[in-house]
Amino acid sequence: MRFDVAINHLIKNNTGIAAAITGIYPVIVPANVSAQVLPVLVYNQVSTSPVTTKDSFNDYDRSLIQLSIFCKSLDKCKTVADALRVLLDRYAGVLTVETVDYKVDLIRFQNQEDLGFDEDNNVFMIAQDYLIAMYQ
């Protein structure tokens, strides 16, 4: 199940957040992208676990997604973190991306950690965890 497509689509299609960030990328911040002016978002699919019953399998999964927010300004990091939580927490619905339907059953905000200042890259970092349940 493409949890990454669903989360990417949700964030990119929110005009408020899309205008407040440089971009959203998988796994790490690409070398040619800077987080010095606007925050950069990175998503990582940490784990995926199936939810099965006697007559239902391979059609409903839960995944833990980590969203990392990097920016030189801690204030901008926190503003984006709050906006993401408002957007994603308790979200449920069907997303259509290039004619494919992604049925998001529920997104739950799990945790937020302020990881402080990274002196090597001159950015603050905030990590948020979301538990996403999706149908096939």
């Binding site: 796994v27 790490i28 911040v29 070398a31 987080a35 990175v42 990582n44 940490v46 784990s47 980590q66 990392s68 990097f70 950690e113 990881l115 990274d118 090597d120 890259n121 950015v123 970092m125 990590a127």
Partner: protein, 166 residues
């Protein structure tokens, strides 16, 4: 309904709390320390190792060179110095030479010589590094072993205490 391993551990710890008057604090800590050993070894196995030595900050503007595997070696079993009423065994990296932690009775002695403040950059990732949730994988790998050690420890020390009564 089947309880998850974590829920079963919670139930056993609650039972321990009710039986503390039979156990005594020392035996209670011994059981927790023994049960924490599989979690410690699982976390040490799961923790990443860079393969080369590196320089890290050591407080007060100084820095020191540490060998590869420093994060693994920093993972220990300890309790919080503040935990007086409710003792719990914690497993994880020691982060600072000023950490307010102490050893559990009957458990391995806590050392602050190997410290890894940077565990969170491994765990949550960084600007140019993906997260490695080694603590989560260690927890799921060692849950059953911790549970069985808690149960066997309870039986071992309860039998001793009951034998003392009669």
């Amino acid at each position: 309904m089947t309880l998850s391993t974590q829920e079963q551990i919670d139930v056993i710890v609650k039972k321990f709390e009710t039986l503390k008057f039979v156990f005594g604090d020392d035996n209670f800590e011994k059981v927790l320390a023994e049960a924490a050993e599989p979690a410690q070894s699982a976390m040490r196995d799961a923790a990443p190792k860079s393969g080369y030595s590196h320089v890290m900050k050591d407080g007060g503007g100084s820095s020191k060179r540490v060998k590869s595997g420093n994060l693994k070696r920093s993972i220990q079993v300890f309790k919080s110095k503040k935990a007086k009423k409710f003792v719990s065994a914690l497993v994880g990296p020691v982060t600072s030479k000023n950490s307010k932690i102490t050893s559990l009775v009957g458990g391995p002695k806590v050392s602050r010589a190997k410290r890894a403040f940077y565990w969170r950059f491994n765990y949550y990732g960084a600007y140019n590094a993906a997260p490695n949730r080694f603590i989560d994988s260690a927890r799921s790998a060692s849950g059953n072993a911790v549970l069985s050690k808690l149960k066997s420890g309870a039986r071992k020390y309860l039998d001793k205490e009951i034998a003392k009564i009669f």
